[in-house]
């Protein structure tokens, strides 16, 4: 009993910091300022810039330091219109704000921007607050990708609402993908492919991480009417049938790319935001190359393993970090692996009850027992872990519980979980290094989310998994 109590207390203190291998700290903000952070940019010399929803850009020094009380702030720019996306290149900060992509320059080197150059404003805005623009870092060719949220998150009142535009360094604005509803962030994986989060709602049964393959349709037909105003994407838009399934419509709609990883609504998240590939090569722990996702409502960070099967991305989402102080919107990673997280609750409340926050997360090097990857195989899944497994439990098929379902693709708001199936693990084989298990699974379903609960698993030293659930979306089976 006492041992149980101790374990319980221990788990409580772990919950307070979110994860035993990570340390979360709040970075002090300039006093008296409303710092509803919508964008973060990593700058040289260990500086970090943030842009607020009120339209100010601030530069922070000391955000990497051991003593965060020494942090200093200076205001760099002002009067921008709700920016969501910022990066630093050469001598400039590039900011995606609601009406345009702007290059901010400090020509007289006094530490304050004096040139606000419009790189592009080739999209429509009507005065509706929901017509947000989310911008990416530059891609391999120097292009920034801009996501244009639907009017009121449902219609397309002005040009190219529901589209992703690629903006070249000289301002050419190329329609790149369509079918977007309400994005929360955009980023690139290590291969350089662009991904964004789209929130549950019209034509989104659940929120998901989607692959912005150039020329692709993402599922919401509201912006299809702009197809005739562009020539970058060939072919014809096809609206999905209402009350259908993604897997059914894929056959009808040539441009349709299915959500890479569904983030089951309620079970994993509600409002996914930032998309950030961990490229720290181990400085942020064992998940290099994986995607970190912000989650606004629950003030959490999730983790995604992606793989490409038959040319289509798919993979698994795991819970990861929690306890942030406001709803997470932007995330960026510093060169030393530090994860910077910004948050705002205005208009959309979150569990972290503060109005806004700026935080950093660093890996403390401590070992912990987590899922590492979940890969699909011809006859099941290969699981890898961050620690060696207890062999007898790992090789018992009864240690794994599975369920699978999908969502209705429809014009209405969201969908219940439907077409439930129960896949069964028939065989589990531990690898020679003791850190991977090959599962044979009967009853997997194409187009379904596959929930794997592994709460019974133990590491060699007797620990249970910090996060016991994985959710794998199967778009494709590996070819036989």
């Amino acid at each position: 009993m006492i041992r149980l109590l101790l374990l319980f207390l221990l788990s409580l203190s772990l919950a307070a910091v979110g994860h035993p291998s990570y340390q979360r700290e709040e970075i002090p903000l300039p006093e008296g300022e409303v710092m509803e952070i919508g964008s973060i940019a990593i700058m040289p010399d260990q500086k970090v810039a943030v842009a607020t929803r009120r339209g100010d850009v601030w530069i922070c020094e000391g955000a990497y330091g051991d003593d965060l009380s020494q942090v200093t702030w200076s205001k760099f720019a002002t009067g921008l219109h709700e920016p969501f996306g910022m990066d630093f290149l050469d001598d400039s900060l590039y900011v995606t704000q609601r009406p345009e992509l702007t290059r901010l320059r400090d020509m007289d080197k006094d530490g304050v921007a004096d040139l606000y150059e419009t790189v592009t404003q080739d999209w429509g805005i009507s005065g509706d607050y929901h017509e947000y623009a989310f911008g990416s870092l530059p891609d391999g060719e120097g292009n920034r990708w801009v996501l244009l949220c639907l009017t009121g998150s449902s219609g397309a009142r002005t040009d190219f609402r529901g589209w992703c535009m690629r903006v070249t360094p000289d301002g050419e604005t190329i329609p790149t993908a369509y079918g977007i509803r309400s994005p929360g962030g955009i980023g690139f994986n290590q291969a350089g492919d662009a991904f964004y989060t789209d929130n549950q709602g019209l034509w989104n049964g659940s929120s998901s991480l989607k692959w912005l393959k150039p020329g692709s349709f993402q599922g919401n037909p509201a912006g299809n009417k702009f197809f005739k105003k562009q020539s970058a994407i060939q072919g014809k838009p096809v609206a999905p049938n209402d009350e259908s399934r993604v897997i059914t419509e894929l056959d009808r709609i040539p441009h349709y790319v299915p959500p890479a990883v569904v983030i089951p609504h309620g079970k994993v998240g509600r409002s996914p935001s930032a998309v950030l590939a961990d490229q720290s090569e181990g400085k942020f722990g064992p998940f290099n190359g994986q995607i970190l996702l912000g989650e606004q409502t629950a003030s959490e960070v999730q983790r995604v393993f992606l793989e490409k099967v038959n040319g289509v991305y798919q993979g698994a989402v795991f819970k990861f970090l929690k306890g942030f102080r406001a709803g997470i919107v932007p995330m960026k990673q510093g060169d030393d692996g530090t994860l910077f997280v910004g948050g705002t609750n205005r208009g959309w409340a979150s569990s972290g009850g503060k109005r806004f926050t700026f935080e950093r997360v660093r890996w403390n090097g401590k070992k912990s027992f987590e899922f590492h990857e979940m890969k699909i195989t011809r006859d099941g899944f290969d699981l890898t872990f961050t620690d060696k497994l207890d062999k007898s439990i790992a090789e018992d098929p009864a240690s794994y519980k599975m369920a699978a379902w999908t969502y209705i693709l429809r014009s209405g708001y969201g969908s219940p979980e439907v077409d439930e199936a129960i896949p069964v693990v028939t065989e589990a084989k531990l690898s020679p290094d003791g850190k991977s298990v090959s599962l044979k699974v009967k009853g997997r379903v194409k187009g379904h989310v596959h929930h794997l609960n592994a709460k019974l698993l133990k590491s060699e030293s007797g620990a249970t998994l910090i996060h016991k659930d994985a959710y794998y979306t199967i778009n494709e089976f590996p070819e036989q």
Partner: protein, 515 residues
Amino acid sequence: MISPTKGLILSVLLAASTVLFADHSLYMQSCGACHGADGKGVEGQFPPLAESEWVEGAPDRLIQIVLKGITGPIQVKGKAYNLAMPPQGMSMKDQQIAKVLSYVRANFGNKETAITTEMVAHARTQTKKRKKPWSAEELTALYPLPGREPMLQNLVSKVYYGKWKSLPDLDKLEPDAVEEEHNGIMSVHRTAKKDHFAMRFSGDFVVKTEGTYRFTLDADDSADLFIAGERIIHLPGKGPMNGSRVIKKEVALKPGRLAFQLDYWEYAGQEGLSVRVEGPGVPKDTFLTPQTKSKKKGRTWESIPIEAKDGKVALYRNFIAGTSARAIGVGYPEGVNLAFSADDFSVGIIWRGKFMDAGRHWTDRGQGFQAPAGKDVALLGQGPAYALLDSPKEKWPKAFQPELEARFLGYRLLDGTGRPEFHYKVSGIRISDTITPQSDAILRLIQPRSEFDSGQSLHMRIAHGAPVKKVAEGTYELGETLTIKVEGAVTTVLPRALIITLTHASPVGITYSWK
């Protein structure tokens, strides 16, 4: 050894706890993330479900919130919240909604009856066509909070169509439509025809406390109000509802359910009915009719003034009323202000005094256009500032002509003052547009930065939308308030527009001054 009885009890207990745990986990999945594992919510963020008046009483209100979502300001347990709960009707089945709401109504200190799957299914059919989330106001109008039952109960409306010259005797007519009005609100706006009709509202007027009650009635056109069979207000004739015909009447009433009847007649044109009740224990601003939006729709945000400081301009990019969505507001320390439209390349609006109140845009989600905070607001018109035309008298285009290849290039903040100098390119010519404020005027310098081709001309509309009058060479009046001076360009005066023609890369000065 476990005795058979004990075993049975144990298994029943186990079964019960499984059910409980299942309900709790459904709650955590559907509600708990925001409203908390203990149903207490997060102060200022997510309202509590624990002992909340919104959970109490008849189930429909609660079911509707889950089905359609709710958005905007809401008072819960005396505290203000302002947020959006997304609709769950499409993502949850009737049975799940019934289960989770029954759980909420039986936990966290709530002691309400369970909600059945059938109740949810019925509620769903009631609002099948509704696509938008509820506002607290709309929802409580239909499903009042406990203790706030309408004063008019069992209300029935009848509609009669026909051409009469005054309020007809409705006892002698057969109604064309009959409806129950559960919200106790008399609306004359839901009829199929908008002219030539009459209505009768009848129901119970519930008096809880003895005392004097005052009824205030206005109508377009006629109305008669009866309490307990007695006509207490008679408003005959045809007339506007502008306050000139209001009738107030005080009556002493005893507790009970009194027969209530209101007869209404609409001839043609506008229609309207307003009945207000004051009396002991009656909440302030109690109306028996829908309230017009303008009356109730106060500001829901705190003022956040933005002004120029320390001799430097204030910049505010947002939706500013009077110009396009891509407005760049500039507040000068000299006490004049403007909004430059990056859509139109024009100064769309100028004003004096205070600059802007950001409260609307910096509170909650920030919907809508905000009017300037100051005074002497002058609109200079919307639409593209530049056009290629054979003559300035030709019809001005509604959007930039594609051949102009108009491109906004941004702005430079000038040393010391931070005044923006706007840059754009039209018809291959790069133009800088510099603005200098004075205490009662705004000076604008249009400077083409590249040479024109021979014969090339570019028309620029510098103001429109109000009568323009030439008062002297190069001096014009726009409407009642502004004088505009032009130097360095040929000017064309149209009845409601002022157009200049650029033919060389030489600067043009424009001065907008208040009279």
